[in-house]
Amino acid sequence: MTEPPVLPPGGLPPGGLPPDDLPRAVADPPRRARLPFVWILPALVIVVAAFVAVQQKLAQGPSIDIYFQGADGIEANKTKIRYKDVDIGDVTDIHVSKDRKKVVVTARIHRDAREYLVEDTRFWVVRPRFAGGSISGLGTLVSGAYISVDVGRSGAERRNFDGLEVPPIVTADLPGREFVLHADDIGSLSVGSTVFYRHISVGQVVAYTLDPGGASVTIKVFVYKPYDGYVATNTRFWQASGIDMSVGSDGVKLRTESLASILEGGIAFQSLPTATAAVPAPADTEFTLFTDQERALRQADAEVRTFIMYFSGSLRGLSAGAPVDLRGITIGEVKGLSVEYERDPGRLRFPVEVDIFPQRIRGLGRRDDHPPGIESDTAGRALLDSLVAHGMRAELKTGSLLTGQKYVALDFHTDLPPDHVGWDARPPVFPTAAGALDEIQDSVGSIAKKLEKVPLDKITARLIATMATLDDTLKNADRLVRQLDGTIAPQISDTLKEAQGAMKNAKEVLGQDAPLQSDLSATLLELSRAAKSVNALVDYLERHPEALLRGKPGESK
């Protein structure tokens, strides 16, 4: 260690000091410090204070940050953190995050609740809410909002959490099981929609996601204990959303699970009746969500035979799912409709693809004691050929005049030319017959063509003009009738009475036996005679004018 130069008294001379004139430093060795006894007490106090501070620090528990969209109802040093309604911490600070997108709620958690702060622990604000037809959090109207905790099951600790904006449907401690449903669309379901079992609310929809590709959706439902025991491997789920109104060939059906399901949708499930005991489904078992109960509970037929049917008439009213009916018994269903172009004759054909369930026809289906194979197929074909040979045909019929829905009816027609099943085609072609409806349609079409030729517009115009004229005429006639009835009819009646009297009088006067008639006749006779007499007198006077003076001369003898 080099000693620093010692400056002479009076400062440095101008031009600096010569190296030899520099003063040499003299080392002054430190003396050993000795702590007086008076400092023992403060030192003890400091040690105790530090101990207390450490103890208090350790007793406070960890501080966490929870991120929310807003801080509605949360106040620093007032809002509590609660788990199962037990205070496990306090909100100590609220501030906006640096990016100003969220609110950071800092809370101090009690030390004994330290283990709650794990990876999947969730926080949410409990405040009054109305959702799903129910009201929750009414107690917070008085006590004020608080932050509730759903403690996760993870082992990893965590200090920063994203708070839930809405309370979770299922908490980790809720007994029950979660299942996965697959559906074509979500329908009117939403998170919180009720799951029904025999019209009892047994669970809720907890989440749904659109599957990759967008072709379907996956819905997660939670079924509470002990109802989760009814979810078995053969359980069918279906949409019970709103009012299930189905219009089919058998009329209109209205079905709903509950009033709540009308508002927010719902899911119902039921197990298929089976001979063997149903096995409870484990959690996260995947099921298909059917669109309605009928499809869901439809028995799956083990054996399905597909046929093609070509109908001559219009397929309007026939849709996929329409029943194939054999004298009232549904033995299949329409699988699909399409249009195909047949090159050879150059025409369009409308194939109807139907699924026939042979097991529904005794004797046609495969029996358990009969091993499936060529032999059974051959027997089935032979039986079907026999039925067709006896006149079995498929025809379109209208199931409901109200809806116009059609179905395929199999029936026997003995008056039709023989036909056969086209086994060569894939699928085989089942022979059809023109339904009565088609014949009626043809007749109606013919009538319609004739009607088209009728100049309805001209007739209508003339008819309207005629009606107008007729209306005027009727009005005039009505007016005339009123006049006749009110004014003229009494006069006519009186006149007729008078005429009747006059006729009677005339009859009396002019009758053959009437005095006037006889008198008149006599008078005319006398008049005629008088005229003759006058005539004779005049004639006589012409011959004998002197007779006026002399009288008639004597006759010459």
């Binding site: 053959q512 006889s518 003759k532 004779a536 006589y540 003076l549 009288g551 008639k552 006759e555």
Partner: protein
């Protein structure tokens, strides 16, 4: 001659001129003459008779030649000749048919329509001291029997004397003959 005498002479002449021949009146009668036989007439015949206008006058008219006649001013029919002919004919028919009643339209009955009998005497002449002659056409219409027939006939009667009463008698006879014919023509019911 005094004026008074002259006036008396003139009055006498005038009065002498007023003194004329007396008139004689004649009637027709039924032949045979007598009362109608009692019976129940069922057929009503309505008779209509016309006579030539030459004869239809009160004076008796006689033929003197083929184209000459004389009107006898003092030989007169007591009633118009047409009336006398009609009534005489009617009475003659009734005298021959007890089931026939001849009357005018006042006797028509609805249940039994009358038989229309129209007699048209087209010629009627007589010569004094000669004979009386009538020619008649008739038509009988019986609607109930659908009969409509025509007939004609000529009837003559000689006079029984030279007086004018014989003329009336001869005419009565010819009318009787005509009535006989007509009574046969009217169909019985």
């Amino acid at each position: 001659m005094t004026a008074l005498r002259r006036a008396g002479l003139l009055c006498g002449l005038a009065l002498s001129g007023c003194v004329g021949q007396a008139d004689h009146f004649y009637t027709l009668n039924t032949v045979p003459d007598g009362a109608r036989v009692a019976g129940q007439p069922t057929i009503h015949v309505r008779l209509q008779v016309t006579i030539p206008s030459l004869m239809d006058r009160n004076e008796m008219v006689l033929s003197t030649s083929r184209n000459g006649i004389v009107i006898l001013d003092h030989e007169r029919w007591a009633a118009p000749l047409a009336d006398q002919v009609s009534q005489t004919l009617a009475r003659n028919i009734e005298g021959r048919r007890t089931d026939v009643f001849v009357g005018d339209r006042g006797f028509d009955r609805a249940a039994s329509p009358p038989v229309m009998l129209k007699v048209d005497i087209v010629r009627m002449s007589a010569q004094r001291g000669g004979q009386a002659r009538i020619e008649a056409h008739w038509r009988i219409v019986d609607s109930s029997a659908s009969v409509d027939q025509l007939g004609s006939g000529s009837f003559e009667a000689a006079m029984s004397g030279d007086g004018y009463a014989a003329v009336a008698q001869a005419y009565s006879q010819t009318l009787s003959d005509l009535a006989e014919r007509l009574a046969q023509e009217v169909r019985r019911r």
